[in-house]
């Protein structure tokens, strides 16, 4: 059946991070999410600053997940970084154009 790899001398084991790093990323994501929800629910921050604050939190959380959970922090992910950041650049331009060109 399956294409197992046979008769290959065992290379030194690839070192893998345990679950700890990922649980930390999970807790960090939970805290960032709770902060964003709290900022809106309790209006503790000056109203004009709430939007940049929660958008900033979203970007921090997204980077956490991209780098830890999607392994973009590991070697051999240069192409992944190029793909995602090229995509991000395009959409940031699109959003600025849509918001400031359409309504102002």
């Amino acid at each position: 059946m399956g294409a197992h790899v046979h008769d290959e001398p065992r290379k030194p084991k690839v070192k893998h991070d345990g679950a700890k790093k990922h649980v930390i990323a999970f807790i960090a994501s939970l805290v960032l999410t709770a902060l964003a929800f709290a900022a809106v629910a309790f209006e503790v921050i000056p109203a004009g600053f709430t939007v940049p604050f929660i958008v900033g939190l979203a970007f921090v959380q997204a980077l956490f997940q991209l780098f830890f959970w999607m392994h973009m922090d590991q070697k051999g992910h240069e192409f992944a970084r190029i793909s995602i950041f090229a995509g991000l650049t395009f959409i940031l331009i699109a959003i600025i154009v849509f918001v400031f060109w359409v309504w102002w």
Binding site: A62, W69, M70, A80, L88, A94, V99
Partner: protein, 208 residues
């Protein structure tokens, strides 16, 4: 046939052991770059049109925090369980990997059920795809994300079924790895949806 025990023959990082596996992952990142642009254009459209309700209910009247918080918690947790599945994959523990993938799928189904309930609730309140620019932009963006969740569930289930038959090999391992990348990406998109669509909608302020 079905190898439900720890596989000792597999190389380390079986998802990258073959050129095909490596190319699959590389190609998938290119796809994710394209998905970023796709979701980005939907976000841009939504941000530009979110105040154009055409007399229908506004986002402040519609959105409720507990529902969004629960949906966020479900999807975030499912992203963690799919990480655990990949960790089990690296330990070549098929049984554990299948178990974590199953938990991921169940959490995804919970998220989907919540979203269907939410959409039905909004439609009763008069917030429809056809009710105005806000409605069209909302259902296109959030619905498209929901469709990604539904597709992700089907994808993971299909790979799981195939692996029950074929076992964990250098052929099936990349499929799980790529499916879990896709699942994380769906969660990353949701981070921006709950921030831009729901939280910013509840403040009701303009961007900038």
């Amino acid at each position: 046939m079905a190898t439900h025990h720890v596989n000792a023959v597999l190389p380390d990082e079986p998802e990258k052991a073959t050129l095909e596996g490596k190319n699959k992952i590389l190609g998938f990142w290119l796809f994710l770059g394209g998905e970023t642009v796709l979701f980005g254009s939907l976000f841009a459209t939504f941000i530009a049109l979110r105040d154009q309700t055409n007399g229908g209910p506004t986002s402040q009247q519609l959105f409720e925090m507990p529902l969004v918080a629960l949906a966020t918690l479900l999807l975030l947790t499912s992203s963690l369980t799919s990480v655990f599945a990949v960790l089990a994959l690296h330990k070549k523990d098929l049984k554990k990997m299948q178990a974590w993938m199953t938990v991921t799928v169940i959490l995804g189904l919970g998220f989907l059920a919540l979203e269907i309930y939410e959409f039905m609730h909004y439609i009763h309140m008069g917030h429809k795809m056809t009710s105005g620019a806000f409605g069209s932009a909302f259902y296109t963006l959030v619905g498209f994300h929901g469709a990604h969740v539904a597709f992700g569930i089907l994808w993971i289930l299909t790979v799981q079924l195939q692996t029950v038959k074929k076992g964990l090999t250098v052929v099936t391992a990349p499929k799980f790895y790529v499916a879990s990348l896709y699942w994380h990406f769906i969660d990353v998109v949701w981070v921006f949806i709950f921030t831009v669509v729901y939280l910013m909608g509840m403040i009701g302020g303009k961007v900038g």
